[in-house]
């Protein structure tokens, strides 16, 4: 039963303790002698930049990775985990950032697949409903996952973990996919779990959130623990400094930008999805002038990917007039032809979409540069030109790499993103459409990329930025529109777009009056 609460008498010893935990991959130390203590009735934040070793640490605690050195103590006794199921049987639960759900199965079927128990499907379904109601995480066991929003999918993962009645729950960046309002609801659940005596390890890099929610914070940098502190006693910038190790460069907006002619216009664009679980774009219109930066906010999976494909020309529209680039109706034009009109694109996925992972950077420069910039002569590749693009991007954007022309996959996320953005910006585009420019990128690289976007707009280009990160949009955009269920809201001036307003739009409120009334009443 659920109420068989974790034992509370063992508060003198931590629930979980790691001692000198080290994970080595070849010469690389993903975790370097990490000591951490997890106590019951605490929400413990794990902070760090991408690549700091957060994932390695929690995967070790969850039994997915065997440590190279060091040990873990569970309620004071040495623990060696053979795998996640042993971790679960001891009372350790985990909710991953990337959900492991089968789209075509129902909620209950997905939960059943993830449980080790031997109860019947019917009993399990009943218990699922009970647990989800007790914690205010409503779920209909019979619905198929593809019909659910991202927030609901996360609920499945959380409920699945809670059904094992864990003493210790690990959550990996749970709010990355939630609206501000959904995040608030999650925090209520987490507070309640804490009050029940459970311990929570909360991975995030949203510092305000951590300050608000967490009792303790452990900060990792380059695989090492740099500090354990009380986040409520710190400021967001002092936490950031510990994470990054240096002061973060402020992005300079620069002088007033000159707004010129419309460079990217979308007229009543509607598009059926090409995959059955995709989102239908409905009547999307926007106008973007030179010198302007427009942000598109919204919870992932509300049509941002489909809009990117329609703007880039990866998907064509029947009606040429739906997408106008530099005054030319381009809805029917291929991505190559749109690039020739002066457009440039940076997709969300760096590996596999923005670049071919196993190909060299010079070949990846050719990938988007072959149409326009002298890299191909009479069908033959000019390797001098492709290498020169790599060198220029490396210099202008401080791309760190082991050799002159390595495989794309060998670069860190931040450096590869700098290369991709650099590759496009060096072509001096008139229009830049960029999706999640700094997703999973370290703070230093993020600052470089945001600055580049601002500079490009200052030079007269029109920039469209899609991002889940509202702080990022607030920092660099002039106006923000919100995507919900394949529709795009009217843009708000960034100065007037409060988190609350955006949050309501991200929940779909202003698009449906009844929903709006409900949200206000709630």
């Amino acid at each position: 039963m659920l109420n068989s609460a974790p034992d509370l008498h063992s508060t003198e010893t931590p629930l979980l303790q790691t001692v000198g935990l080290t994970k080595r991959y070849g010469d690389f130390l993903a975790n370097d002698r990490v000591d951490i203590e997890i106590w019951p009735r605490q929400i413990h934040a794990l902070l760090g930049e991408n690549g700091a070793g957060k994932s390695t640490l929690v995967k070790t605690i969850y039994g997915l990775i065997q440590p190279s050195e060091g040990e873990m103590l569970w309620q004071g006794k040495r623990m060696i985990l053979s795998g996640p199921s042993e971790a679960r049987s001891r009372g350790i639960g985990m909710v991953f950032q990337h959900f492991s759900l089968f789209d075509n199965l129902t909620v209950a079927e997905n939960v059943a697949l993830g449980l080790d128990g031997k109860e019947t499907f019917k009993d399990m379904s009943a218990r699922l409903e009970q647990v989800s109601n007790v914690y205010g995480l409503p779920l209909d066991p019979k619905r198929e996952v593809w019909q659910l929003s991202v927030g609901e999918r996360q609920r499945i993962e959380i409920v699945r973990a809670l059904m094992q009645d864990p003493k210790f729950l690990i959550l990996d960046e749970p709010t990355a996919v939630l609206t501000p309002q959904e995040a608030d609801q999650l925090f209520i659940v987490l507070d309640r779990l804490k009050a029940e005596g459970r311990a929570i390890l909360y991975i995030s890099h949203k510092l305000e959130e951590v300050k608000r929610l967490c009792d303790t914070a452990t900060i990792l940098r380059l695989g090492k623990k740099v500090a354990t502190c009380n986040p409520k006693a710190e400021t967001a910038s002092s936490l950031a400094r510990m994470m990054v190790g240096t002061e973060i460069k402020e992005v300079r907006a620069g002088a007033e930008r000159k707004i010129t002619v419309p460079r990217l216009v979308v007229n009543d664009l509607s598009l059926e999805p090409d995959d059955p679980h995709g989102v239908r774009l409905q009547h999307i219109s926007l106008e973007l002038k030179g010198g302007e930066i427009l942000g598109i906010a919204g919870v992932a999976g509300n049509g941002q990917d489909e809009l990117f494909a329609a703007l880039s020309g990866e998907r064509l529209s029947q009606d040429p007039g739906t997408v106008v680039i530099e005054g030319v109706a381009a809805g029917h034009l291929s991505i190559t032809q749109r690039r020739k009109l002066g457009a440039a694109f940076v997709p969300e996925e760096r590996l596999g979409h923005g670049t071919a992972p196993r190909m060299k950077l010079s070949e990846n420069a050719l990938l988007t540069g072959h149409a326009a910039s002298g890299m191909v002569q009479r069908g033959f590749i000019n390797t001098t030109a492709t290498l020169k693009t790599v060198d220029r991007a490396t210099e202008a954007f401080d791309v760190r790499k082991a050799k002159r022309d390595p495989e794309a996959a060998s670069l860190s996320g931040g450096n590869l993103q700098k290369f991709i953005v650099g590759r496009e910006i060096l072509r001096n585009p008139a229009v830049l459409v960029v999706s999640q420019p700094t997703w999973g990128v370290d703070a230093g690289a993020a600052a470089v990329i945001r600055q580049a976007v601002l500079d490009l707009a200052a030079a007269g280009a029109a920039v469209l930025v899609t991002s889940q990160d509202l702080d990022e949009l607030a920092e660099i955009t002039d106006r923000i529109a919100v995507m919900f269920h394949g529709r795009l809201s009217q843009p708000l001036a960034t100065s007037e777009a409060s988190r609350e307003k955006l949050g309501l739009l991200m929940g779909g409120s202003s698009l449906d009056e009844r929903e709006a009334a409900h949200a206000v009443g709630a």
Binding site: Y25, G26, F28, Q66, W74, Q75, K77, R78, M79, I80, S82, E86, S89, R90, S312, G313, E314, S334, I335, T336, R339, F345, P347, E349, G352, H353, G354, T355, A356, P357, R358, M359, E363, N364, L366, L367, T368, H370, A371, V376, G379, F380, I381, E407, A409, S410
Partner: protein, 363 residues
Amino acid sequence: MQLVLEKRAERSNTIALVSPLIAIGLTIVTMSILFVILGKNPISALIVYFIDPLTDAYSLQEIAVKASPLVMIAIGLSLCYLANAWNIGAEGQFLIGAVAGSWLAVKTQGTDAGFWVLPAMLLLGAVAGALYALIPAICKVRFGASEILTSLMLVYVADLLLDYLVRGPWRDPAGFNFPTTAEFDPVATVPILVEGGRLHLGAIITLLIVAAAAVLLGRTIKGFEIRVVGAAPRAARFGGFNANQLILLTFAVSGALAGLAGIIEVAGPVGHLQPGISPGYGFTAIIVAFLGRLNPIGILIAGLFLALTFIGGEQAQIAMKIPLDVTKVFQGILLFYVLACDSLILYRFRLVFASRQVSSGTG
């Protein structure tokens, strides 16, 4: 203690080069065991297979003669496979090429048609092979039908068509009812390179094709397109490359090369059209393509090696009464090991010592 397969940080280029050699080594070990089971001395069997053919001039020429079609077909297949298009039906395209070219040879038989006959035959063979390969490619692009199945099934259609023609309309009237056309005229025959030998112009054409493929893949935007569509389809679409067009193109090119190999074989070493003109070249070429790492130069080497097994297999049948089918077993085992060893390019084996006995039973 556990043996785990773990992902390498970067692909190992050393293993990429060495893996075919490891595969060959493992195949030889497995074959030795098989020879022992068959009651043969494995050492002498291996000598007959791999060493003897290299020691006399006739066998060396014969290796080149057998390697030519293998390499030519495998080059085409490698383009398909690099682009993630799975043409398994090269054997059928080979036969159709042979049939189409032979049509002209049969029609001009005994006429005073001039030197143009052979070039026209080669062209016909290539075009027919390309068209035949386009059938599964179009089915794939238009209807999403698995090209693996359709291209394979069309092999049997081609096989039976050839059978019908040489038993029916094209049968040599003076051929004592054997299912074969008449011997082709000299203008319809591929010229021999060495007086009195069997090495023919096809070997030169093959080398030219290898060189052309190396330039295509290494230096041109088309070659880049082929590689990127196969390696990262989504990135290729982002780059503006159309995967469907490329399926059609690579299938057509590989069909043309297989068809060309077919008509050269018929107009060269065989000299007439008959059933059984291919000892499975179209299938063996799949092994050649992978053993050669889908790289033109690698394919040239791999083609020579597999030709050696054909010759060695024939000699082993004569000298040691080892059935010819053992050659096919050999080739199958080789492909198996090549594919298995390829996983070592991205993964490595590691021994893990976990001191499980200290695990306390708190759970």
